[in-house]
Symmetry: C2
């Protein structure tokens, strides 16, 4: 049976999740795709750091070792910032590899050149994991855009912020201790700036914009506000009034095709669709012309939700290459 050689770039929470799922689901994937997958190599930052055992896998801190693996076909990328991730993915594509990324900071900026590069090489870019974690909003949008047009997108796109707002209300604890808890649970990065400043939700909104509208608004025109200004007193006051703070990212296209986006906290009541979205969950509402409003809700962060949609991207790409998709 033909073997697909894959590499993982970055071995943090998400990278480890990919490794586990690929190994757990090896037999199922072989059965449904007719192809065996093997994680051939893992790129890490610091060889001295302790990490889970990965028997038989090349573990290296040198990208050259990875890109030179003969017959490498798939690169999973789970690094955090623009550089060097973008450069790595360009080189992987040039070598003829499919790439599957969870890197929203990089992808929100480089989605168009990456897609063009991939197209010219006849390979695919999977990016479900960049936006809303385990919620398959990218696949759903791609499908419905074949028939529908989208007028508005609204959602909770940062699980950490929603987790912190939920804990502040439920436990009546201040921002700092809720953030610490989120970090302990692996929802927030060691540097929480991107999450709590609204920048992470903004990047995801820009990825959705590129897909839904074929373009992004001018980044400088978008008001981006985080949750750091919301005090425990604010949260308690809202609670007494039966309201909840939600951190909402939204984008609308007007009749002239112009885009208007904003990211920031909103107070919502029990009848608002985002009222019941608690903890680390994300939610995305898509307003379309034929279907109406479609909302997806699910875990916006965490090892397995994010890694799972990356392996689904793999299954889709490999199924596509073989000229079929798995159907039941």
């Amino acid at each position: 049976m033909a073997k697909i050689k894959a590499a993982i770039l970055g071995f943090g929470t998400v990278g480890q999740g990919i490794y586990h799922i690929v190994n757990d689901k090896k037999e199922d994937l072989k059965k449904s795709l007719g192809l065996d997958i093997e994680i051939s190599a893992i790129l890490i930052n610091n060889l001295a750091k302790e990490r889970p055992a990965t028997p038989g896998v090349l573990v290296t801190d040198d990208f050259e070792d990875i890109i030179n693996i003969p017959g490498l076909q798939v690169v999973f990328e789970a690094i955090v910032n623009e550089d060097p991730a973008y450069g790595y993915l360009c080189r992987a594509i040039d070598k003829g590899c499919h790439v599957i990324t969870a890197n929203k900071v990089m992808f929100s900026k480089y989605s168009i050149p990456l897609h063009e590069r991939a197209k010219s090489r006849g390979v695919f870019v999977g990016y479900e994991a960049t936006t809303a974690g385990g919620v398959p909003v990218i696949k759903t949008l791609k499908n419905l855009l074949q028939v529908n047009s989208v007028k508005k997108i609204q959602g909770i796109l940062n699980g950490t912020s929603n987790y912190i707002l939920t804990q502040m209300r439920l436990e009546e604890c201040p921002f700092d201790s809720a953030l610490k808890e989120a970090q302990m649970l692996g929802y927030a990065e060691a540097d929480p700036y991107n999450d709590v400043s609204g920048q992470d939700a903004f990047r995801k909104l820009m990825i959705l914009s590129a897909l839904a509208f074929g373009k992004q608004p001018n980044w400088n025109d978008v008001r981006v506000e985080g949750i750091t200004e919301i005090s425990l007193e604010d949260v308690k006051k809202a609670k007494l009034e039966g309201l909840r703070y939600r951190h909402v990212a939204e984008i609308v296209q007007d009749e002239n095709g112009e885009l208007f986006a904003s990211v920031g906290p909103q107070l919502v009541g029990p009848d608002h669709p985002l009222y019941a979205i608690e903890g680390v969950n994300n939610a995305v509402s898509l307003d379309t012309n034929y279907i109406g409003t479609l909302t997806l809700v699910g875990p916006g962060a965490g090892m397995y939700p994010t890694a799972s949609v990356m392996v689904e991207d793999y299954a889709e790409i490999i199924g596509k290459r073989a000229g079929f998709m798995i159907t039941i």
Copy 2:
């Protein structure tokens, strides 16, 4: 440019929706799929009944006229009951046509033989529209099942029942007048038995069961209750307590692989994920091993939502046959 000839069986709300969308999106579909689609024929029940104009299309009450169209490739089926729909689809498949159905009564019973028949002829069966209207739960389930296993499915699967329960609460009106309103708006059939008895939700749950678990429970073992026993007094009492009635269909698989399903009304509070699902909306929650709980919410009935997902099925099938899928 190659032309795809399609026929529509049944020209009620959904059939008309398909006709409109296919004509409205003709150019877009041509661009994305590289193939032109033409509705060649429409099967109706009663030639004497008034209906929208369909210039250039063969309108007939004789299925033989349709099945004998040279080069027919796609059959959209939007008929209500098992017979003669199942027989028509079998003959269409035998002729080498892809079939796309919205018929849950038929499909809940015949999904397995239809799929086997289609497989042996190398064609596809699209059935997104059978379950939860415009909510793409079938595609989402198929995708996540490539990596995840499902433990439990819970949802509001009948838009009419949810519309009636919502109106009874908001307008404080009795069941009968809420039902009449639902019929006027085209949400409920002239004979509302299937909707309000829970049978419609039950059939959809069985379709989800076949996909998620590869089997269905014994139909006679499933307790199916509708909404007809809920009085205006019940609804008012719940409202005073801050609760809402929801008609919930659910199925769980235990550790031994056994399935337990039930369909009936439940009282839910503001923190329940189904509390905010109002009007004709449907919601489906999927409990999975890696992703966790994923919930989809959207219109469960209506001309355009249902017709839209059928045209999406068409785009997916035709994209698949050409060995590619549309990606951005």
